[in-house]
């Protein structure tokens, strides 16, 4: 029995990490209707920022989440202002291709700068575990990352609902034209949104860097999991990605126990397709976002 409990708890922690990685992706897709294929590359960039800080000044990766977020926020803001804004009105292929080009650029840039070594940000405590009865273990590293995921998602939903800028972001997301009539500079708000999403990705990268190993080739995998978590959870609200991540983590954990281990990814994609076919707006998403059709 404890084996199943261990898998479930570990699955929940893994799910939180998926949620943490996906929340930025879901924000950009929800507000700007842009699918950012370079999201995984942003996550990795955050991991490398935290790695360098740890290497140079010995900063703990979980503390490194803040500088990683700041660096990525700046990068995200500039990228949106200078580049993504140029195509935000274009059909979806164009935004998909632009972000795909961005992914190639960032991943291979990381490869040229940091080589392809497998890295992990060393911490003294990350691999130790909190021992629960029945020898069920909660590794500290993943626990902190999970808590960070929940806190960041809460902070984002507070920000979006309570603060002026946050409301501006939501409003621009729903109807850009109307928002501009209210004196909101859509360019700035979009750049802010992309910056925040990149910052969240950066923070997630720092946490992931502490918990597992990473190398430039992993970018695609993080983008794919963000896809699944964002769609599962549904767009239009900030906790969708976290919810989607948890469901994905659980499915993979239970699937891993009941079925041969190699089927783990197959389960993730199976769940994705089924949810999309039956309930396109996802578990907690708003139909408005799913029905939005672009020319």
């Amino acid at each position: 029995m404890s084996q199943f409990l261990q898998a479930t708890l570990y699955g929940l922690l893994q799910g939180c990490i998926f949620g943490l990685v996906a929340v930025g992706f879901s924000l950009v897709w929800g507000v700007m209707n842009v699918v950012n294929l370079a999201h995984g590359a942003f996550v990795l960039s955050g991991a490398y920022v935290a790695y360098e800080l740890n290497d140079l000044v010995g900063l703990d990766p979980f503390l490194g989440m803040v500088p990683a977020a700041l660096v990525l926020f700046a990068a995200g803001y500039l990228l949106q202002r200078g580049l993504v804004n140029l195509v935000v009105n274009a059909p979806i292929f164009i935004t998909l291709l632009l972000t795909f080009g961005l992914e190639l650029l960032v991943v291979n840039g990381l490869l040229l700068v940091f080589t392809a070594d497998y890295r992990s940000i060393p911490t003294s405590y990350a691999a130790d575990s909190l021992v629960l009865p029945g020898d069920v273990r909660l590794p500290y590293g993943r626990l902190i990352a999970a808590i960070a995921a929940v806190l960041l998602t809460l902070a984002l939903s507070m920000f979006v609902r309570r603060t002026r800028t946050g409301v501006a972001i939501l409003a621009t997301g729903m109807d850009r034209g109307a928002a501009r009539l209210m004196g909101i500079s859509a360019r700035h708000v979009y750049a802010l949104t992309f910056g925040i999403a990149a910052a969240l990705a950066g923070a997630a990268g720092a946490a992931v860097g502490a918990v597992t190993t990473f190398s430039p080739a992993d970018a695609g995998r993080y983008t794919l999991f963000s896809f699944i978590a964002a769609v599962l959870g549904g767009l239009g609200n900030t906790y969708g990605a976290l919810l989607g991540g948890l469901v994905l983590g659980l499915f993979q954990a239970w699937g891993g126990q009941l079925l041969p281990g190699t089927l783990v990814n197959a389960i993730a994609f199976g769940v994705l397709v089924v949810v999309l076919a039956l309930r396109p707006q996802g578990l907690a998403g708003r139909a408005f976002y799913a029905s939005r059709v672009e020319i």
């Binding site: 795909f100 080009g101 041969p260 990814n265 076919a277």
Partner: protein, 328 residues
């Protein structure tokens, strides 16, 4: 599109076909193989154009049909000893039927959701192949017997595959050309521009979309089958690699989505550019390719053919007003 232009279109298409055949005599084996890959991508891009370009449904799982066609052929040739020429047809049928089946729930989705759902299907197919090693060899790969008595069809050789991929590409472009000017093309373009209005005017949108999706998948499956036979040994990671789909999309969009010549030009230019970059910038070729895609997408979102047509008809040469059109 008046008939006179159609005739010119077909004539020029034939000219290009003959030019390509002539090209073969000029090339080394390495170049023959590279140009065969260009033809493969011309065929894949033109096939994707049917569902992505004409109908406007951005299928991000096209490599799923490519891999499905490939594995169908390999399984039939390896386990049942069926001749390649039969299995390529079976591969097309299997891919087409699978698309129709999957299309039933997925073609109701639109935009990003359709893209993500089809991506999920392709990734799911790869996992399926990975987990059925008895039939497909799984992660260890599977090899078609191409030498000795139990080889159902002898290996065609680089020149043989050059011709095979050229014929397949010509077939797909011809199908695309035929549809563009036919009644079907009308319906697909109407669906792309306003599906509800098309339905209200009598277009059976479900049937039209499913046919376009299945047709595109079948042609992609056939090309996948040819690729598998050329490779002799195939692996799931490569046959279901999402980059193949994205490369198709890049080629169609930058060539000119929804046109006949667009995918052809896009495929030739992009395949040639990435090959040239890989040879000359061994370390940074993907990096530069990424930058090129970004610049091309921003400056020429409507694609080369559409840009050329607008430039000639309306004298609008400047790329900047392309940018202005989509800028926030």
């Amino acid at each position: 599109m008046n008939p006179r232009r159609q005739v010119i279109g077909w004539a020029v298409g034939l000219l290009v076909l003959l030019g390509a055949f002539g090209l073969q005599t000029q090339l080394y084996t390495g170049q023959v193989r590279t140009v065969s890959t260009v033809f493969m991508y011309v065929g894949l891009a033109a096939a994707w154009n049917l569902i992505g370009g004409y109908t406007g449904y951005a299928c991000f799982g096209q490599v799923g049909f490519f891999g499905l066609g490939a594995y169908t052929t390999v399984v039939f040739m390896t386990h049942l000893g069926v001749s390649f020429w039969l299995t390529i047809v079976v591969a097309a049928v299997v891919a087409g039927l699978f698309a129709a089946l999957v299309g039933f729930p997925l073609l109701r989705l639109k935009g990003h959701y359709f893209a993500v759902a089809t991506l999920g299907v392709a990734e799911g197919l790869r996992e399926l192949v990975l987990n059925t090693p008895a039939v497909t060899g799984g992660g260890a790969g599977i090899t078609i017997p191409t030498v000795g008595h139990d080889a159902p069809t002898p290996w065609l050789g680089n020149d043989g595959f050059y011709v095979l991929f050229l014929v397949l590409a010509a077939l797909v472009v011809a199908v695309g050309g035929y549809i563009a000017y036919s009644k079907g093309g009308f319906a697909l373009r109407a669906i792309h521009q306003d599906e509800d209005a098309a339905a209200a005017m009598g277009v059976n949108t479900t049937r039209a979309k499913t046919l376009a999706f299945a047709g595109s998948a079948a042609l992609t499956g056939a090309i996948g089958a040819a690729y598998a036979f050329q490779q002799v040994t195939i692996f799931p990671e490569r046959l279901f690699d999402v980059n193949i789909t994205v490369l198709m999309v890049v080629m169609v969009v930058l060539g000119g989505s929804g046109t006949v010549a667009g995918p052809v030009i896009g495929a030739i230019v992009i395949a040639y550019a990435s090959e040239w970059l890989r040879q000359h910038l061994t370390n940074a070729h993907t990096f530069v390719l990424g930058a090129l895609i970004i610049v091309a997408v921003v400056l020429m979102p409507q694609g080369f053919v559409n840009y050329a047509r607008d430039a000639v008809t309306e004298r609008r040469w400047s790329l900047l007003d392309n940018v202005r059109r989509y800028r926030l």
